[in-house]
Amino acid sequence: MVHRLRRFAADHWVLAIALIVLLYLFVPIGVVAAMSFREARNNAPYTLDNFKFTLDNWKHPFGVPGIQEAFLLSVTIALVATVGATILGTLMSFALARHSFRGRGATNTLIFLPMATPEIVMGSSLLALFVASGVPLGFWTVVIAHIMFCLSFVVVTVKARLAGLDPRLREAAMDLYADERQTFMRVTLPLVMPGIVAAALLSFSLSFDDFIVTNFNSGTSVTFPMFVWGASQRGIPAQINVIGTAMFLVSFLIVLIGQLPRLRRRAR
């Protein structure tokens, strides 16, 4: 019996540590969720002391001036940046995965460097460029910046998917009377799609969540993270927690639903 217990412990201690680490990841989210139900006036200190439960914050998630505009601005920027970065990045990854050409190494370096550069450096250098060239800061400068730093992540994600494709599938399509265009539309694109979707989701979350680069290049526009930042200096409205929790739940559900077919197949 003792032997068995020891054996069980030996087999499962890694799992136990893993669960503790997961807990560490989730505690702050639990706090955010709890804070979203806290009854508080706008400038109350940001703590869980003297907790009083209320649903008011959830009934009026945009009940603070500026928060709705900030949220919608962030969503708009993230959508535009995601479309831009996904298109540009997918084209680049096709060139890198499918063709050999001069300047391949230089291109790979150009794609790697943004990922190895701290955001504060990218943000400040872009600001320097925009100021020097007299471009007014605002919506479009933020979009430009977001496409720039999402691009590398899109290329890496889609390229990995392309590299994993069996080249024989393309040959099989050509052998079965599909010309280049049909081969691309009927075989390559559907097979690469999961990679492109993953890249787009990644871009969206990177863009929506970005504060550092945005803070340098937004001028007077206020995105949702910037709104939170501003609030953290003055006093944090409970609605921020509502939106944080809702974002978490919605995205968690989307990813979970995306996983459902795979889970069901595995169960069978």
Binding site: L15, I17, A18, V21, L22, Y24, L25, P28, I29, V32, M35, T47, L48, I87, L88, M92, A95, R98, H99, S100, F101, T107, L110, L113, M115, A116, T117, P118, E119, I120, V121, S125, A128, L129, A145, I147, M148, S152, V155, P167, S205, F208, D209, I212, N215, F216, F224, P225, V228, N241, G244, T245, M247, F248, S251, F252, L256, Q259, L263, R266
Partner: protein, 302 residues
């Protein structure tokens, strides 16, 4: 033979025989053009511009404009003035990377090799915190570590000595926040390389008299090295440039170089010094990255 065929097909020398359509040599360049231009104009050019800015006359101002005077002196001036902040950036980032590795490895290992049918759910749990805004999560840490919060009470009850009896506004708080924020960047690459590991290799090592420790150090760890390298880079780089955690969870005594750069650019408006600091940070990170990648002996960073 077919492998050779693919190599040759990639090289594409359509010598004697003419195909219906000539191979399009310009196609890859066309595909690369928009994205490449984007990166050149909005990443490479600004980096050069930043370098130029760092050499401007520090006596200028944003309103009057700066004169290019090749002030290389900006570098020693800025770096010596903010050496402690530089030291903290590198030191905090190194500690963050170390703790993330220690916490992230068991998690990645468990998900990749021990979780069975729960694998996807656990993976989603690792990614999920991403979706609550970075700043909101960091603010939540403020609540957790607050002076009369649970963590401080427990530590006090255990008689763990705390500076001034508090956690918030201390170095451990900043590092805890950094680890928390960048842990998923460590776990995901680790998971990706551990997932490719054939569990039979671990069994084979056991069969060949390797005890659990040796199984790990001789088989599992070497094979997951690409993941370790990628994970440490993806954690170290953003952590070194971060200033949010120091700002929200620390005090000016915890400020990192990011806080200085941010305030010089956006509050003080001292562009040449800020640019010199940015460029030094970027150069320092790139040097560290290349030395590290070289020593780790793997090119599979991407």
């Amino acid at each position: 033979m077919s492998a050779l065929g693919h190599v040759a097909a990639g090289g594409g020398s359509a010598a004697q025989v003419k195909l219906e359509k000539p191979r399009k040599k310009w196609l890859p360049y066309l595909l690369l053009l928009p994205g490449g231009l984007w990166l050149i104009i909005f990443f490479a050019v600004p980096s050069v511009q930043l370098f130029a800015t760092s050499l401007y006359d520090p006596n200028g101002s944003l309103e009057e404009g700066y004169a290019m005077t090749w002030q290389f002196g900006n570098y020693p001036d800025a770096v010596s003035a903010y050496l402690p902040q530089f030291g903290r950036s590198i030191g905090y980032a190194a500690l963050t990377t170390l703790f993330s590795l220690l916490l992230g490895y068991p998690l990645a290992y468990a998900i990749a090799l021990k979780s069975g049918r729960w694998k996807n759910i656990l993976l989603i749990c690792v990614i999920a915190p991403f979706f609550t805004t970075f700043l909101i999560r960091t603010l939540a840490w403020k609540v957790i570590l607050s002076d009369n919060g649970t963590v401080v009470s427990v530590l006090n009850a255990l008689h763990v000595p705390l500076p001034d009896g508090r956690l918030l506004a201390t170095t451990p708080a900043v590092i805890a926040g950094l680890v928390y924020n960048f842990l998923p960047f460590m776990v995901l690459p680790l998971y990706a390389s551990l997932e490719k590991l054939d569990p039979r290799l671990i069994e084979a090592a056991g069969d060949l008299y390797a005890r659990p420790v040796a199984r790990f150090t001789r088989v599992v760890l070497p094979l997951s090295m690409p993941g370790v390298v990628a994970g440490t880079l993806l954690t170290f780089i953003p952590a070194a440039g971060d200033y949010i955690n120091a700002e929200l969870l620390g005090t000016s005594r915890q400020y990192m170089i990011g806080n200085v750069i941010q305030s010089k650019f956006l509050k003080v408006g001292d562009y040449p010094a800020a640019a010199a600091l940015s460029f030094t940070l970027m150069a320092a990170i790139l040097v560290l990255v290349f030395v590290y990648v070289r020593r780790a002996g793997t090119d599979e960073v991407l």
